[in-house]
Symmetry: C3
Subunit: 157 residues, 3 copies
């Protein structure tokens, strides 16, 4: 049986998403089947628009969508310093030849990591399939995710 | 062997507790044995008093208990906007026919999810068995939890 | 086969590190092999200097190193009250005969818990092997950690 790593990607923080994609690409590169289940804030990582945008059904979800932002506007979970820290981290990563978050996401796509979006969170936040990148394989619920993650390692980040 | 999902429910955030109970009810509904081990801030989810209350042994733990609050006063982990966000989420959930946090907790009880309270965290925070809802099955420590979670999937939220 | 618990110790929060070491010592005391993989903020737990210090290669990483601090300057993830809360928790732990964070770390060393430092995070933050306590067994990457954690329970904290 091949090895499997599944991650509930709940956080929309720059540093935690970096952890998600570092683990995902590291596992995929060594032959694991990797499944990422994006939910709540984590949906920021798979939005088409990587900056802030008013997406979502009603004005309320649109406002929230704007504040949440996308991959390029993710804050750092601590010492964010009004958005300066993610920029510092990106520059440190480039300087030290560590892949940036955007490069890690691209690697994950190339390595065949499976991207899933959480149906319930999309309903709450007024997000639709077309708001996400085409690499998202499917929109699923918890029961389906548990079946996919079965018999492997599962993390909540 | 039947499938098993165990969660260390450490967070007292509205959104993370929603994740805990969505995973718990989704798993229980599809035949999993589900064990929730509430510790630290997560204990808010199983307090009798769902609002803010001065519970705990000394004035210090009483103050902390007040600030921590209960299920109905849980903040959102990001963009909390001084407590407005949890209300917005609750309204969006109701509007979109997604179960609210309180409904998810009730479902978990009906579906036979096992609730455990962490002994050590209770000692630190001055909480006693009678401060919790009657559905709490037992007050246990880490070693017992590890035995209960053995051979299943375990998450830390 | 003996039981195994592996933890990605990502957080640098006082309360979450307390959870890491409570789980680690609880598992080790009951015969588990325990592996802790410290990354990002979690590296604070294994720094030689437990207070704030300007360590790291460039002035930028030195500044960050100062703000991050060490084990004794870790903040609480919620209701930190400008650093008063960790002190309150330490005093409550002592009063209630619960091991403090520093005592838990010492217990983990005595119980043979394996400490690993994340190579990539060290590169980003400009940290070197000599900045850490001697108990750190090795500096490793994600692929090695996954191999070490294989066939056991794995948590992300």
């Amino acid at each position: 049986m091949s090895k499997k790593l599944s991650i509930v990607a709940f956080s929309g923080d720059f540093d935690k998403l970096t952890a998600v994609f570092t683990l995902a690409t590291g596992a995929a590169a060594t032959g694991y089947e990797v499944n990422l289940f994006f939910t709540f804030w984590g949906l920021d990582a798979i939005k088409q628009k990587q900056g802030r945008a008013f997406i979502g059904g009603t004005w309320l979800t649109k406002m929230f969508g704007f504040f949440m932002g996308g991959l390029r506007s993710t804050p750092v979970s601590r010492l964010n310093f009004w958005g300066i820290s993610p920029r510092i981290f990106r520059s440190l990563m480039r300087k030290n030849n560590v892949a940036t978050l955007e490069e890690l996401v691209d690697s994950a796509k190339v390595l065949g990591v499976n991207f899933y979006a959480c149906e319930m969170a999309m309903n709450i936040l007024g997000l639709k399939r077309e708001h996400f990148i085409p690499e998202v394989k499917d929109v699923i619920g918890v029961a389906t995710f548990l079946k996919i993650a079965d018999d492997g390692q599962t993390l909540f980040i």
